[in-house]
């Protein structure tokens, strides 16, 4: 578990830094509508502190096909000067040459479509292009989370096809001499971006924050889980070592009597522990790394980040050392404590650590001496629960261990419930746009004036323009904000749940996403100042904070009137809410026909509102697999802890159980005792774990994820029932396993124990 946590944490935690370093990611990435390269170059050169820059043209909606795979939503980036410093890292092959029909393919696309170096791929009607290299660009996630992406040499393309779009660019990468001044440079960039349309800036820091947030939840959970597992393993190992030392007390006494020092005795025990720990820990570390290595590598590829490679070795070796040192220290410590006693005491046997008799204390002794003898006033009644009660008492005799094991099982129960709830909610996210707060089913790239005609399409309940503008915060220009506006009540079309405050009521108010609120420290009543691409500023009061998946919660819902006052040319689509039972495909077809009538909208996007989710399906699948795998591993850890705790109790009390067997207890009698012991561990754990998930873990993770989606993560009763059944099964397995193994041991060995 520890090595699994190390692999996931280290791989995901440092993934972006590795990717950014390898790709030499620009400090600022600017996107804008097509402009002459000379104009953009001049503007950039006028900025302060510029180390270098790159220009390229990004063509979207490009037809890409390879074998049986095809996509009409591809992205082709035409590079002015292919080579290092373009914001991507070459993973295999070579750079684009100045001439020839060659192409670089993003690794995620190559992996998904099975493209290899030397293959030929059709790019936007250019004909077959030879794949000469595989790349990754950490400023975006990979295909299929994002659009399929290829890179071409603009010079080579120009040489083949003539100067089409020559000199026009829509993407710039800027490297600063001192990245600390990125805000100042952004401010200057905005001041000189007059005349440019749809300018969007992204900084390296902003990209890292987004990716770190996504990985952070998984990493935090895994680290917490592995620490709990480590703690439990430590408690159980220490208890096991203590029992072993107790058994060998006389042997220790002999060694002390013949002159061995206390340190030598402890060292010998440590070496014994080491002999067991070395192979066990090596196998554990390798197994953990292998189990998580595959899914994590896949996740990294989807995030366009490189694997940790050899840099993973130091933390893994650290985990291995911790795993080896813990049992060795756990074995040495009881021996060290025991060896401080005089040799003669050890030779006589006795109790390690002077374990207390149950209910014994000075007060108890005094009360006992003073009290009259207790007599049986009537025929003896059987102790309630009988053998099971004995099991409870045997386990309860070691209170610290009982507490640690119950705590571990309870926390694990909570974690397993959380994983199952999360996996279930992720499935819902894939198919339920309502989870994103989105209520319209279709959006069409049609002008606002077409709204009445769209409303007349059979199956359309209501349609209205949806304005969507990428702005920046006026005071933190690196923070981009997606500004969404509807002419009327936006709740009909998008109703992200309200986290705090109230819905917007006036033309000067806005609802902000939780991600934006957290990034800018906004709360209801605060002022939001947005720098719009058109150059105007929009200032609104924050009426409430909403939970939205869009743009990681960096979103603001504003009244259309306010947005259009600041930017009358704000781009829009028509959003349509369908009537119940309407044929979505038929409505989409009708929308496409409407769009076909107007020039420029021929490729009119008619997309299901759930499309972003559909594109995220592979990530959701990988995450769900990781979560279920974590739940399964945690379940196995629970089973191990339960078996180990019961086996340890049996080991420590083997003489008592041998007496029971001498009295005639078969394995079923032992099973009853162990059932009591297992229930003493499992029932409090269930009582702890279920409320912990429902009232602590679930709501906490829901708050963490509120900028992504509405995730009601308090487990419902079906998963609770599944987990409780799992605990019962674990208890049953433990009881049968330990009872059978105990019954196989000779009775006389137990009786011979002191």
């Amino acid at each position: 578990m520890l090595s699994a946590a190390v692999v996931v944490s280290y791989s995901l935690g440092g993934g972006f830094a590795r990717a950014a370093r390898r790709a030499d990611l620009p400090d600022i990435i600017a996107r804008f509508d097509d402009e002459p390269a000379s104009l953009i170059a001049a503007r950039i050169r006028s900025l302060p502190d510029i180390a270098r820059y790159s220009l390229s043209y990004e063509e979207t909606g490009v037809e890409l096909s390879f074998g049986s795979h095809a996509s009409g939503a591809g992205v082709a980036e035409l590079l002015e000067r292919p080579g290092r410093g373009q914001g991507y890292a070459l993973l295999a092959g070579r750079e684009l040459p100045a001439r020839g029909a060659d192409v670089l393919v993003e690794r995620g696309l190559a992996d998904a479509w099975g493209i290899h170096l030397g293959d030929q791929i059709d790019v936007g009607g250019l004909g077959p292009e030879r794949v000469v290299g595989l790349v990754e660009a950490p400023d975006d996630v990979a295909y299929p989370l994002a659009a399929p992406r290829v890179y071409l040499s603009r010079r080579a393309l120009g040489a083949r096809l003539g100067p089409e779009r020559d000199g026009r660019v829509n993407l710039a990468g800027i490297w600063l001499r001192n990245p600390r001044y990125v805000n100042e440079v952004l401010s200057a960039a905005r001041s000189i971006s007059y005349g440019l349309r749809n300018v969007q800036y992204a900084t390296r820091a902003a990209v890292r924050i987004l990716l770190d947030q996504a990985a952070g939840i998984v990493i935090d959970l895994l680290v917490a889980l592995s620490l709990i597992s480590l703690l439990t393993a430590g408690v159980l190992l220490a208890a096991s070592a203590r029992a072993e030392v107790q058994r060998r007390l006389r042997a220790l006494g002999v060694r002390r009597a013949v002159g061995e020092s206390r340190a030598q005795v402890a060292l010998a025990q440590a070496l014994e522990g080491l002999l067991v720990a070395l192979p066990a820990c090596t196998i554990g570390v390798v197994a953990g790394a292998l189990a998580t290595g595959g899914p994590v590598a896949r996740l990294l590829m989807l995030l366009n980040e490189p694997p940790a490679g050899a840099s993973m070795w130091p933390p893994l070796v650290g985990a291995w050392l911790a795993g080896v040192a813990l049992p060795a220290a756990g074995a040495a410590w009881p021996a060290w404590r025991a060896a401080r006693e005089p040799a003669i005491s050890l030779l006589r046997g006795g109790e390690l650590g002077r374990a207390r008799h149950p209910r014994s204390s000075l007060r108890r002794a005094v009360a006992l001496a003073a009290a009259p003898p207790r007599r049986l006033s009537r025929p003896a009644a059987p102790a309630r629960g009988g053998l099971a009660t004995l099991g409870v008492r045997l386990v309860a005799a070691r209170r610290a261990r009982l507490l640690a094991t119950v705590l571990m099982l309870g926390l694990s129960t909570g974690f397993v419930l959380l994983m199952l709830a999360l996996a279930s909610e992720l499935s819902a996210l894939q198919t339920d746009p309502g989870a994103l707060g989105r209520r319209y089913q279709l959006a069409a790239a049609l002008p606002p004036g077409m709204a009445p005609r769209v409303r007349q399409i059979p199956g359309v309940r209501v349609a209205t323009p949806r304005y969507d503008v990428h702005a920046a915060d006026s005071f933190a220009l690196g923070v981009s904000v997606e500004v969404i506006a509807y002419p009327g009540n936006h709740l009909t079309f998008e109703a992200p749940p309200l986290v705090s405050g109230r819905r917007l009521r006036g033309v000067d108010q806005a609802e902000v996403g939780a991600g934006l609120a957290r990034a800018l420290g906004l709360s209801p009543g605060a002022r939001l100042a947005l720098a719009l691409p058109a150059g105007r500023e929009l200032r609104l009061g924050v009426s409430g904070v909403v939970s939205s998946l869009l743009d990681d919660g960096r979103v603001a819902y504003v009244p259309a009137a306010a947005l259009l006052r600041a930017d009358p040319q704000a781009p829009s689509q028509l959003a349509a809410v369908l009537a119940p039972g309407a044929d979505q495909a038929a409505v989409a077809h009708a929308l496409a026909r409407l769009g076909g009538a107007s020039a420029g909208a021929a490729s009119a996007l008619v997309g299901a509102a759930t499309e972003p989710n559909g594109r995220g399906a592979p990530l959701v699948r990988v995450l769900r697999t990781v979560l279920v795998a974590i739940a399964a591993v945690d379940g196995l850890v629970c089973l191990y802890a339960l078996i180990q705790a019961c086996a340890l109790t049996v080991f420590e009390r083997r003489r008592a159980l041998a007496v029971l067997r001498a009295c005639g207890a078969s394995w079923t009698g032992l099973a009853r005792v162990l059932m009591g012991a297992a229930l003493a561990l499992v029932l409090p754990a269930a009582a702890l774990g279920v409320p912990l998930e429902r009232y602590v873990f679930g709501p906490a993770l829901s708050r963490l994820a509120e900028s992504y989606a509405v995730l009601p993560l308090a487990a419902s009763w079906p998963p609770v029932a599944v987990v409780l059944a799992g605990l019962a099964l674990a208890a049953a397995i433990t009881v049968v396993w330990v009872a059978l193994s105990t019954a196989r041991a000779p009775v006389v060995e137990g009786l011979a124990e002191r």
């Binding site: 008799h357 149950p358 209910r359 014994s360 006992l368 003898p373 207790r374 007599r375 049986l376 025929p379 003896a380 009644a381 059987p382 102790a383 009988g386 053998l387 004995l390 008492r393 045997l394 005799a397 003489r655 008592a656 007496v659 029971l660 067997r661 001498a662 009295c663 005639g664 207890a665 078969s666 394995w667 079923t668 009698g669 009853r672 019954a743 196989r744 000779p746 009775v747 006389v748 009786l751």
Partner: protein, 237 residues
């Protein structure tokens, strides 16, 4: 009167028992053709020096260990060749053990220790009533609710005897029952064992006092049982 039941003769029969411990050059034949028959109401004391195999013989007779050769029958039920579950059932219904160290479970009161054997799955009915009677008869009512560490050695051993008798067994096997007691308590315990007249009782012991209450005294010498009169003094403790 501790209990009444109809019993048959020859509750315990052992024939040609062989048991070797250790292996290779360290192998040692502890029992070499031991035969023993004990009838109901008979108290047999087995004496022998330390390491002579007395406890091993007792374990074999109680089905706690298996002989290398020979046969054992308790209350008409053969022990040899039986599986662990069957041996446990025979111990439960027909055999009671008394140990030198009492072997009471420290988490349970004296009464609960006695009831423990009666609550095992398959135990004969009436265990609760018998437990109350035994505790009363052995003079333990005043301390029935006390934990073992709150009891004297004699009280602990009397609870151990009550536990051995709670399922009304035909055979009682006692391993050094007075070994951890002073002379006074030891004598009281022997008196109780002597009083189990309708059962077969086998006592292995160092103590010559134990021999005094026995109907028959045997000595285990060089792996074989001999009548008391047939051995020289140098062969015993």
């Amino acid at each position: 009167m501790l209990s009444c039941r109809a019993v048959k003769d020859a509750v315990l029969q052992a024939r040609d028992l062989v048991k070797t411990v250790g292996s290779g050059r360290a192998a040692r034949r502890l029992l070499d053709g031991v035969g023993l028959s004990v009838t109901a109401g008979e108290v047999v004391a087995i004496l022998g020096r330390s390491g002579s195999g007395k406890s091993t013989l007792l374990h074999l007779l109680g089905g706690l260990d298996r002989p290398d050769a020979g046969s054992i029958t308790v209350a008409g039920e053969p022990l040899t060749g039986r599986r662990g579950g069957a041996l446990a059932r025979i111990r439960l219904r027909h055999i009671g053990f008394v140990f030198q160290q009492f072997q009471l479970l420290e988490e349970l009161s004296g009464l609960e220790n006695v009831l423990l054997a009666a609550q095992l799955p398959g135990a004969p009915a009436g265990g609760v009533r018998r437990a109350a009677e035994l505790i009363d008869a052995l003079g333990l009512s005043a301390v029935a609710a006390h934990l073992p560490h709150e009891l004297s050695g004699g009280e602990q051993q009397r609870f151990a005897i009550a536990r051995a008798l709670v399922n009304d067994p035909e055979l009682v096997l006692a391993d050094e029952p007075t070994g951890s007691l002073d002379a006074e308590n030891g004598a009281a315990v022997l008196e109780i064992l002597r009083g189990l007249r309708d059962r077969a009782v086998v006592i292995v012991t160092h103590a010559p006092e134990a021999a005094a209450i026995a109907d028959r005294v045997l000595r285990l010498v060089r792996g074989q049982l001999h009548e008391h009169e047939n051995i020289s003094l140098g062969d015993v403790d």
